[in-house]
Symmetry: C2
Subunit: 676 residues, 2 copies
């Protein structure tokens, strides 16, 4: 097997652009792009089915660069293939407001399917892409009409394979037999600290066979034909996902840096670049691409033909299955909610509010799902092995299983991080709104994938139950304390901690309507009483914060969320008896509330002169943000005991809250007197 002359030249064009752009930026990673150049030729030079003119074509193959530091490889490929990414953008690699940031960013650069950089997650996203394809194929394809039929390819490196998430994602991909997932492993034996044998001696082929994958190679990753043949074999034998192990040399082509850790993360330097140009036979100046090479790379004509063919097939599908085709267009192309959604949501919320049922908010969440999910086939539920605790399933949802993709609920196994990153992949793919559950404490495990969803503006819904010491006997390892506040810090994530069933329904509806943000719903294990509300108050829940119960000329404002809302209401009643009127503000979603206009926020929180007191069974550090001068919360780890004993132990009672209000008022008065 050989690499032809034009393929060599195509590969060297990638090499040259990578080393030149890194040099121009004086920052970046030349080694991986140079090492993967031939792998890229094998895939992008013919196998990949995509259309540079339409990066949104629904049935395009997905490509993920999981070793995202190799971003210049992807930018070079996008540019040369004919995507809307000019050579000027490549020259502005890693500069402010260019389309060529340090790591590939979805939404910024056409053709970038997912944002990568945090290692291992791109691979997990790719598993999500392949899973979405499989699920949508099941839902939409009909005999003779394969409108969903594409591959998901991923390049990955040693770092991705060291990360634990690679295990979670690939074990599940193997179990589910996602045969249209094809991973190409850039096995260059080098990571930042040097030769990997001192810290990574896995037999990766055996490891992936243990997951039920088809493993091809190791083969020479610089032999385009060998890689291309492996790709063809993988597509022809699609009973299982495929890992193609490509042995490469990092920084290949650079006489002084090839095969060294130094090639990884710094510019080669002018002298070494000149030497590399001589070695690989690339006489052209920086960012210069000869016309013949451009033509060889140009994928626009083939891409347009591929998409036209699909459009013809989709037209035939529309004729044969008009309803399915309309649904496909709604879900996958226009990405709209079902036409009746608003009305259904409104009725469900109204009914919930009217029912006034004391129920755990995790149960209220399941009730909402039971009402809405049957009408929303795009919802794909799941849990990290806590289905019966998270209550993420709903009547008739069915289970996604290795040979059965008709279900709408997936047991992800005990894989919180993998679940979150797979959901990111599915959301990016389009056609599905994924939601998944675990205990709130274990949001720690998936935290960076939640962040990535926020960064990518993807609609992924996290159902985090057992949201406080209310979890009880499982003890401090399972009791979140800092988690609610900590999630609120992630930019672009909406966090909800609803106080009863009506607030839970509102949270879910907001999460479904919010197409460009991930949401985290923090739900109780224990039952919460329903709060009475006027219809206007029911509507106001969606603003994230509102006055739930007011008094004329309140002396203090109690601000509460979730299970502590009932406490604020009880304290208000006790204080009424003592002739001390206070306002109760419910704050189920601080991020939503923070986005309301200033006048509204000030009206809800009241004048600054009236002391504000926060109440939440968790960290109190965030209350200062709302001008609170005191808070009832928990700034230490919990204990193992029945929930009631814990709430008592840590002072979560109406009486304690009343005492805190009185103490705060006394202190404020004293401070005032001193000041005056």
């Amino acid at each position: 097997m050989t690499t032809t002359t034009i393929q060599k030249t195509q590969a060297n064009a990638l090499r040259a652009l990578a080393m030149d752009a890194v040099q121009a930026a004086n920052s970046g990673h030349p080694g991986a792009p140079m090492g993967m150049a031939e792998m890229a030729v094998a895939l992008w030079g013919g196998a990949l089915r995509h259309n540079p003119a339409d990066p949104q074509w629904p049935d395009r193959d997905r490509f993920v660069l999981s070793n995202g530091h190799a971003s210049m490889l992807l930018y070079a490929l996008l540019h040369l293939s004919g995507y809307d990414l000019s050579i000027e953008e490549l020259k502005a690699f890693r500069q402010l407001h260019s389309k060529t940031p340090g790591h590939p960013e979805h939404g910024l650069t056409p053709g970038v399917e997912t944002t990568t950089g945090p290692l291992g997650q791109g691979l997990a996203n790719a598993v999500g892409f392949a899973l979405a394809e499989r699920l949508l194929a099941e839902q939409f394809n009909r005999p003779g009409h394969a409108v969903v039929d594409h591959h998901s390819y991923v390049f990955l490196g040693d770092g991705c394979l060291m990360e634990g998430i690679s295990h979670e994602a690939c074990s599940l991909a193997g179990t589910l037999k996602l045969g249209k997932l094809i991973a190409l492993y850039d096995a260059n034996g080098i990571s930042i600290d040097g030769k990997i044998e001192g810290w990574f001696a896995d037999d990766t082929a055996a490891r992936f066979e243990a997951y039920g994958w088809q493993v091809l190679g190791p083969l020479d990753g610089h032999d385009v034909e060998a890689v291309a043949q492996a790709l063809a074999h993988a597509r022809a034998h699609a009973e299982r996902p495929t890992l193609i192990i490509c042995r490469t040399t990092i920084g290949a082509g650079s006489p002084g840096r090839a095969g060294t850790a130094k090639a990884h993360g710094e510019p080669l330097g002018a002298a070494e670049i000149a030497a590399t140009r001589a070695v690989i036979g690339w006489p052209h100046g920086p960012f210069e691409i000869p016309e013949g090479v451009r033509q060889a790379w140009d994928a626009r004509e083939r891409g347009a033909a591929l998409q036209r063919d699909w459009q013809r097939r989709f037209a035939a599908y529309r004729d044969a299955h008009p309803q399915l085709a309309a649904e496909f267009e709604r879900r996958v192309i226009r990405r709209e909610l079902p036409p009746g959604f608003e009305m259904l949501a409104f009725k469900t919320l109204a009914a919930t509010a009217q029912r006034q049922e004391a129920v755990a908010t995790r149960k209220a969440s399941q009730q909402l799902l039971a009402a809405l999910a049957p009408q929303m086939p795009e919802l794909l539920g799941g849990s990290a092995d806590l289905t019966g605790s998270n209550l993420t399933d709903f009547p008739g949802c069915g289970s996604v299983m290795p040979d059965d993709f008709a279900g709408r609920h997936l047991s992800y196994g005990v894989r919180e991080f993998g679940m979150a990153a797979l959901m990111n992949g599915m959301a990016l793919h389009g056609g599905l709104i994924p939601y998944g559950g675990t205990f709130l404490t274990f949001s720690d495990y998936s935290r960076n994938a939640i962040r990535m969803a926020a960064l990518m503006k993807q609609q992924v819904i996290h159902v985090f139950t057992h949201d406080s010491i209310g979890l009880g006997e499982d003890g401090p390892t399972h009791q979140p304390v800092e988690h609610a506040e900590s999630l609120r810090l992630i930019p672009g994530l909406d966090v909800w901690r609803p106080g009863d069933a009506a607030e839970t329904a509102t949270a879910w509806i907001a999460a479904l309507q919010q197409r460009e943000r991930p949401c985290a719903l923090l739900l109780t294990r224990q039952a919460l009483p329903a709060q009475p509300r006027t219809p206007e108050q029911v509507v106001a829940i969606a603003r994230g914060g509102y006055v739930l119960s007011d008094r004329p000329q309140p002396r203090a404002v109690l601000i509460a969320s979730g299970s502590e809302l009932q406490l604020a209401m009880a304290a208000q009643r006790l204080l009424d008896e003592q002739g001390l009127p206070v306002r109760v503000v419910s704050l189920p979603s601080s991020s939503l509330f923070d986005r309301q206009e200033r006048a509204y926020r000030e009206a809800v929180l009241g004048p600054r002169a009236v002391p504000r007191i926060g109440v939440e069974a968790g960290s109190t550090r965030g209350w200062g943000h709302y001008g609170c001068v005191a808070a009832l919360g928990l700034d230490r780890f919990g204990e193992s005991a029945p929930a009631g004993a814990l709430f008592e132990l840590f002072g979560f009672s109406a009486a304690k809250l009343v005492a805190l209000v009185r103490q705060t008022l006394a202190q404020e008065e004293a401070a005032c007197t001193t000041t005056n």
Copy 2:
């Protein structure tokens, strides 16, 4: 191979205690203890070298229950073996202030080596135990004197093996050939969602062989002799870590629940318990253990003999190597810092403060290590494949490698979570103070292990570099925004974000002196100017917050951390010129500052009437906690560009800070006028 009658009875005693305690608590997990009863007999019934009378015996075997929900198994074993854990404690399982919480908690119950529950982490802790043993053996043992020579055993379940951290920890354990690590896999085929084949179809034996482990079994986990023989084989063939795969039945013994997911997490109920008693032939009442069974389990005599033997051997060692023995006693037994530590630390800090060098705080951290680490052989450094970026190595540290454990710096590979959990295991083992580095953003990956260190009060030092948009071109995936504030929320964790070299040295010294807390040091990539300080101010750094530069009758107080401290100082100078005096407070560690007495804190922050303004290149939500009425920060994701361009883009300049001060003062004045 068979299980003898007494062994059967011993196993049934564990079963009975587990189901009775769960029933009494009306909460807990009977299935796993019942399924692992025979495995426990095989290990605890003879093989395990421990002394119930002295859970601190340094050379005891370590035992970790990674599937921590099986806590009743461990409590039953501790009780029956003769640890200070009464039957009354077992009766109080999962009740407030008992020594038998829902999941095993280190420090609360004698004999519990680590806190488990969050799945997979116990396994990683066990790898840390085995690594600590190997390192200490290298450092202390001499020919004919094996004073460090014990095994680390771990029980784990399917859930642990699904978690990604199992991959990180076990891949590294295999690479390092930690042959005295023996894992027993409770392969019962059931997780909470049901039969695992739908979501976990790994060939686990092949997977672990791919990691370089010795794999024994699958064998019948209810055959005590078979498990015991495998254990003996593992100990006799200790070139590699061993996984013993034990096929078991969850809830074994329960006629109605055995082999079902229902056995996992709820009490069996009175009727099923009665039926189980009949089936297993256990006629005794709840919590009743016949004397013969007690005697069979009692490990006190054997344990005392084992420890006496070790003490004799240690005495001989002390005779032959008095200095080493003294060092062993200091590090491993008394857990004290070296005698000259305080003086050395003081001199190093003084020299650093005097040098007034502009340096990145990551570099200052390395300078501190270069000064202290050679005198502190207990320091064990490392990095998750970013050694050259985190600067965690120091001159002469050497590298820990598969066949060379003389080094003092470990390349953990790209395994942030695994690194953190291994460090927890090493800290728990004793004799080492582990520290490890990665980029601050990737603290997300290791977050729950950091939390566990805090919960367990373990001295683990996290070196998180590249602590803001100052990271520059790598872009938003690598730029922390919410991370500093988010780490500050973890109870019991000390977070430092030093503003120059002197603050960095203080942070390190505090982290080393603080024996019962983990610390996170957030360090810059970019150089920071040294701030001038009086000797009193140098000392005051250790209080976490102090007045760095004051003015008579300040009109505002600027509170800053890390790289933004220089900004506050520059703004102060500009405001001086404008005749507007402000105070600058440096707040390198808010947790330390929060622990100072109230009077000190109030003196530093000044009277409430003087507006406070926070400055930090990250989330602003936490500033309200310090009464700030305004903040210069970053509540959105960063961008990819050179650091200077980013600080400019996001308004981190002295001029912008000056403008914010003036605007804030104007607003406060207006508000005041309105109020009056």
